[in-house]
């Protein structure tokens, strides 16, 4: 990328970039800082956009293809902006045995979206996960980062409905 572009990103530097820059500094801008840095970007901005990938590549002196390759390899990273709210249905073994595929189907039918997608009004993103480590509470659904255990189709409908109708 040309220098101007880097400048543009740097000009836009706000508080959130500081965490990212600090992470890279902490690792001496070495190549092994990449994954930690991507975590910092995602924590600050909610997802990884092309601008931030370019910025990270430039700062760590890595080819963009490598940065992109890493960002897409790991499921934890997302390259699309999430909606206002998130609903993560656990599809780990314990939850699966407890019927999480029916719960997922319920949410899909209610929202009309598939895992990895966001509703057209950008209110809700639907995601799936492989075990949240709360298997004792299976089936588990995480709404906006909060773990809800022992879910049923009814209780998941209610929660999703609440998020969909929420205005802010």
């Amino acid at each position: 990328m040309d220098e101007k572009e880097v400048d543009r990103i740097k000009v836009n530097e706000d508080r959130r970039w500081r965490l990212v820059n600090r992470t890279m500094r902490l690792h001496g801008h070495q190549p092994d800082a990449l994954i930690e840095t991507l975590h910092a970007v995602q924590e600050s901005f909610g997802f990884l956009d092309l601008d931030s990938l370019k910025y990270v590549a430039e700062s760590l002196r890595l080819p963009l293809s490598l940065v992109y390759g890493v960002a897409t390899f790991y499921h934890f990273f997302t390259l699309k902006p999430p909606g206002d709210h998130t609903c993560v249905v656990c599809l780990g073994t314990a939850c699966y045995i407890a019927g999480s595929s029916n719960i997922l189907k319920t949410v899909e039918e209610q929202t009309g979206i598939k895992p990895g997608e966001t509703t057209p009004d950008r209110k809700l993103s639907l995601l799936t996960a492989r075990c949240m480590g709360s298997c004792g509470l299976a089936p588990v659904v995480v709404f906006d980062g909060e773990v809800h255990g022992k879910m049923s189709s009814a209780s998941v409908l209610e929660n999703v409905g609440r998020l969909l109708n929420h205005d802010d």
């Binding site: 994954i35 390899f73 480590g133 709360s134």
Partner: protein, 548 residues
């Protein structure tokens, strides 16, 4: 720091806590936190203050108490009472009952066999100490093992105890830990690394998470002892980003240990230094494989590479690297404190010590348990686990997750040890146990796991990348009612191919759940293929739709 100073810290902490007539332990591990145990703890604290009992009753956050399904869990010491399903509104009754009969509606003594049948080594502090307090860990003898290793033993002596203990890796394969440590210690290099594998990829397992959340110092102490033994001064804990609480607790623990001088420069005033850094995983199952994990710490995609050379020769950044699982490290401090012979006296002939299991699925008591090696499946499912939910029929238990197998009821009296499990086509794995009843379809379960391996395959080698897709498509067809009699043989051939020609453990073990369900539940496969019915009623069969 001298041993006297360390002991003083422990003594002062113990006296401080024993100065309270009652200690109310509230579980603040992830399971209970998600059922609002944080609020319960606050409510109890407020209630203590409201009654002016601050010098009489202590409210303390502790790690997992084990019976996660019944959370939020609260324990009353020194009475040994356990309360389940505690809510904010129970705070007043709990305090009222101190010193008298327990609050009946919360009392959990009905679950007694759950606790009585267990033996705790790794989990000895879980649910007893405050995971964020290093003093609490020291009060239980913590860092005493590191002190002995540093001041009274040689590195070779440490390895000798580990070898004598018979400890085997708890990450899945069961490789003898003493041998691994010896290999790394023999390499000549000024720089070596110790890595703690806390990636815990098996979906449906939460042992490592619970240990890190409940007793993080134990893992750090184990790593430091390992560093001393093999000659490494740097450690990494590679932990899943999906476990934010575990990440936070291990980071806090590192900071406190450095401040106390039991990690970092010149530990216990010796020349030994050991630094530990946390690295986050990013949601790739294959990164639990050691060479992929190393690539990930280096900041690259987690692609495995062929072994040999093993990480013990050529590991992180090309340096000799010791890599062990969380639970393996957690066993080390007690072995050093009590001796290898003590550890070797527990368990079976070839599988020593205990194993931590995450018991989940269709059992009444799901949670975190620890039992001596050699405990039978029946004891685990029916005594500790309290039997099947709704008294339905036990069908099978899954061990080892996506790399493991299903064990049917004819083996319920089998001893849980590495060799016996391998004999029936399953593996010990990392300790995830999923119990299934007659409502689970075994073909569907096989499909579930192969789907997992298919989407987690890193794509580096063809047998795994393509083979898992082929197996998945066959199983999908069978569960949708389009299976053909010849599919069975096709499945067998494909499984054989993927198992024997894949590059890393992911591909090599991916067919296991398919093979083991075919071995014990062929009648269910046949019912799907020939009669177009799913005996458990799980699969939506569409027999009219003739797929090819």
């Amino acid at each position: 720091m001298t041993i006297e100073e360390l002991q003083d810290i422990g003594k002062i902490e113990k006296e401080k806590q024993e100065g309270f007539k009652y200690r109310i332990h509230v579980c603040v591990a992830a399971g209970c936190l998600s059922s609002q145990s944080g609020l319960v703890k606050e409510a109890l604290e407020k209630e203590v203050a409201r009654r002016g009992l601050e010098s009489w009753a202590l409210v303390k956050g502790v790690g997992c108490l084990g019976l996660c399904t019944a959370g939020p869990m609260v324990a009353i010491e020194p009475d040994g009472l356990l309360y389940q399903g505690v809510s904010v509104s129970d705070a007043s009754d709990i305090l009222e009952a101190l010193g008298g009969p327990p609050v009946n509606r919360l009392d959990c003594s009905a679950h007694l066999p759950f606790f009585a049948r267990q033996k705790k080594i790794v989990l000895e502090n879980c649910g007893r100490i405050d995971p964020e307090s290093i003093e609490d860990y020291v009060a239980e003898g913590g860092y005493g093992g590191l002190y002995s290793a540093l001041r009274t033993m040689t590195p070779a002596g440490v390895i000798e105890q580990i070898t004598k203990s018979g400890l085997r890796g708890r990450g899945g394969a069961g490789f003898p830990t003493g041998l691994k440590w010896t290999a790394v210690s023999k390499t000549k290099s000024n720089v070596k690394f110790v890595i703690c594998n806390a990636d815990e990829g098996d979906p449906g397992a939460f042992m490592d998470r619970s240990v890190l959340e409940s007793d993080p110092h134990r893992v750090l102490e184990g790593m430091a002892i390992a560093g001393l033994a093999v000659g490494a001064n740097y450690g990494f804990v590679y932990v899943r980003a999906e476990y934010p609480l575990a990440v936070k607790r291990i980071r806090t623990a590192i900071a406190r240990a450095e401040r106390l001088g039991v990690l970092g420069r010149n530990i216990f005033n010796t020349t030994f230094s050991f630094d530990v850094t946390v690295r986050l995983g990013a949601g790739a199952f294959v990164c639990g494989e050691e060479t992929a994990l190393i690539a990930s710490i280096e900041g690259r995609r987690g692609s495995p590479r062929p072994r040999p050379p093993f990480p013990s020769e050529l590991g992180l950044w090309g340096y000799p690297t010791l890599i062990n699982n969380v639970e393996t490290f957690a066993n080390v401090p007690p072995i050093i404190r009590k001796g290898g012979a003590w550890f070797a006296s527990i368990g079976t002939e070839k599988s020593k010590g205990t194993k931590v299991f995450a018991l989940a699925g269709r059992v009444n008591n799901t949670g975190l348990i620890e039992a001596p090696m050699g405990t039978t499946l029946r004891e685990i499912v029916f005594d500790v686990g309290g039997g099947i939910i709704g008294d339905r029929k036990f069908k099978a238990i899954l061990t080892g997750g996506p790399s493991g197998g299903c064990i049917p009821d004819q083996f319920l009296d089998m001893s849980m040890d590495y060799e016996s499990l391998a004999q029936v086509g399953a593996i010990m794995g990392s300790g995830g146990l999923i119990v299934m009843d007659d409502s689970s379809c075994m073909v569907d379960v096989a499909k579930f796991f192969i789907e997992f391996c298919m989407s987690e395959s890193c794509g580096k080698c063809v047998p795994c990348r393509v083979g898992t897709v082929q197996i998945y498509n066959l199983l999908k067809r069978i569960t949708e009612g389009g299976g053909k009699p010849s599919d069975i043989q096709l499945l067998e051939e494909l499984c054989d191919l993927v198992k024997n020609t894949s590059l890393c453990g992911l591909g090599q073990t991916a067919p296991n759940p398919v093979l083991s369900t075919m071995r014990y539940f062929m009648d269910e496969y046949k019912a799907h293929i020939e009669d177009k019915v799913c005996p458990a009623g799980t699969c939506h069969m569409n027999p009219t739709e003739e797929s090819q």
